[in-house]
Symmetry: C2
């Protein structure tokens, strides 16, 4: 509604100068539902693109209670002492429903939020994972253009959000706990295969023994997977974010990963693939959206699913019928 007049060229210049207010403003435009805003956002992103990419993008996931915020705060603060500038983003499609978004409560990262070399942005709210993921993906470009050289993307792992985050980062870190009884519950299938490293958090005090055992087990499990294209063998590390232990070890693993994948070119190959992935994914999502929101289709779809469930029609015949209906309705 309050479509304030924005000068995109001015905003781009300010972002490139590292102005945090301009960066925040641009991200707000990216997340807007106002068409005028989106056009401006588009313009800004395309002008920031040539200045983006020069960063390490790290995805972090783990079940609630694993200590993600504390970990990100510890890692973020550590990195700023190493002269890095750190941006923390999030993909949480549930935030618009629950109203309780991750990173929404900035007090969760009290120290990091005060750190002038860190930029924290709560998850965009949105109706769909696709929308939220796109906003985060575009925000990465803006943050990089503003000079942030480490981008951390947090996800709580709702629905397919890990896949989305995995597809926008260079390095994917899975946080786990040991000594919590059944430490393997709650992690969705396939997540372990995505991980470039597993960090077992809260590996301190009475937990240390169990954590060490878990390390051996996870290492064994990770070795059962075939090597990734990058030829990187995923690692398992122990840490205690609360006690600030093991954080530098994890950063060393990240650095090792980056140097190894840059050497064999899989770093840039992966980024290219990710770009193409988002390009095609956006197209495919839009095509489906067009089809399934067609009013004729909406009515017929439920009918057909019932017929399929009652073995009245094969799924393929039903699909063919709906497609015919769709294309003929578009021709009129």
């Amino acid at each position: 509604k309050r479509a304030k007049k924005t000068n995109p060229e001015h905003l781009v210049r300010q972002i490139l100068a590292g102005n945090i207010t301009a960066l925040s403003q641009a991200i707000t435009l990216v997340e807007s539902k106002n068409n005028l805003h989106l056009k401006t956002a588009n313009h800004i992103i395309n002008n920031c693109l040539p200045h983006s990419g020069n960063s390490i993008r790290i995805g972090i996931t783990g079940v609630p209670g694993v200590g993600k915020s504390t970990f990100i705060e510890a890692l973020g603060n550590y990195l700023t002492t190493k002269n890095h500038r750190v941006a923390v983003l999030a993909v949480d499609p549930s935030s618009s429903i629950t109203k309780g978004s991750i990173l929404g409560d900035k007090t969760r990262m009290e120290d990091l939020v005060k750190n002038e070399n860190a930029f924290i942005r709560p998850s965009a709210s949105g109706d769909s994972l696709g929308g939220v993921a796109q906003h985060t993906r575009e925000s990465i470009v803006l943050c990089e253009a503003a000079g942030y050289d480490v981008i951390i993307v947090e996800t709580v792992g709702v629905g397919q959000s890990e896949t989305a985050v995995h597809s926008m980062v260079d390095f994917f870190l899975l946080l786990k706990l040991a000594g919590a009884g059944d430490e393997l519950q709650g992690i969705k299938r396939g997540i372990m295969e995505m991980a470039d490293t597993i960090a077992i958090n809260k590996a301190d005090g009475d937990n240390l023994k169990a954590a060490k055992l878990a390390k051996v087990e996870f290492n064994r499990a990770l070795h059962l997977y075939p090597l990734k294209v990058s030829r990187w063998q995923p690692k398992v590390v122990l840490c205690s974010a609360l006690k600030n232990e093991g954080i530098s070890d994890i950063w060393n693993v990240v650095k090792l990963y980056i140097s190894q994948t840059k050497e064999n070119n899989s770093f840039s190959d992966k980024r290219k693939e990710q770009n193409t992935y988002w390009f095609l994914q956006t197209i495919n999502d839009a095509l489906k959206q067009e089809f399934y929101s067609n009013s004729n289709i909406e009515i017929e779809l439920q009918k057909r699913i019932l017929q399929i469930e009652n073995s009245k029609i094969s799924p393929f015949t039903a699909a063919r019928d709906l497609l015919q209906l769709y294309y003929s309705s578009k021709e009129i």
Copy 2:
């Protein structure tokens, strides 16, 4: 070309009577590219549907050399001695390219092919996995209507073919070898998570010790995964298809799985899900096919990918541009 006139009602009656020639003829219609044939095939499938479903569908995968044919022959022959009627199908999208289709050389299963309670059909050839998978999926219906109560679907694991087979069977079996040095190479990521059971084949003679060790390792790895929706804990079994050892053990595992999943309803839930999956998948594939084969799009697509790779345009802007081009070209 030789679109022989077929009486579909007659063919359906013959299939239901268990006539193998009629069954083969119907499958040939399903695989045809002739539109008239396809219409007939469609009619036949929808009339066979109410008589289908009463079977156990088993998917089998494993790298070349693991002994898939020998295993399927051993399992198939064993099942016919238990009064089952067994149909063996395949999903191999590469067959049309390499001309060497799996199951194509029926002599690979010399005994089973002579077994009157077994029906073996080579993989349909086709240009796309989607096409081949659809033909196999429809052939399952026909085989079931013809009275086959165990359907085995073999895949060599090219591209996404395991996922396709996994989505059309009740039970997914991964064949592996031990003692082959690096026994884990060559299996694509994610396959192990799909397996309802891993069978370590060639567990005989000098291989036995290594096979037993591998069994322990795989069991450990499988326990690291969260339980499937069916609450089934995947098993690891040893066998030697060549020596006909362990085959009954595997069949007992299948029976245990079926009774357990039927009891908690996950058996029928999974089948319903699979039907809906194929319905939506067919629609989504067709929408993409329509888009990407549009002549305007084909030209622009490559241009945009280049621009994206050179950071000239964001993947999202590029997607939006192409979609605009597509929909405006359809309106004219």
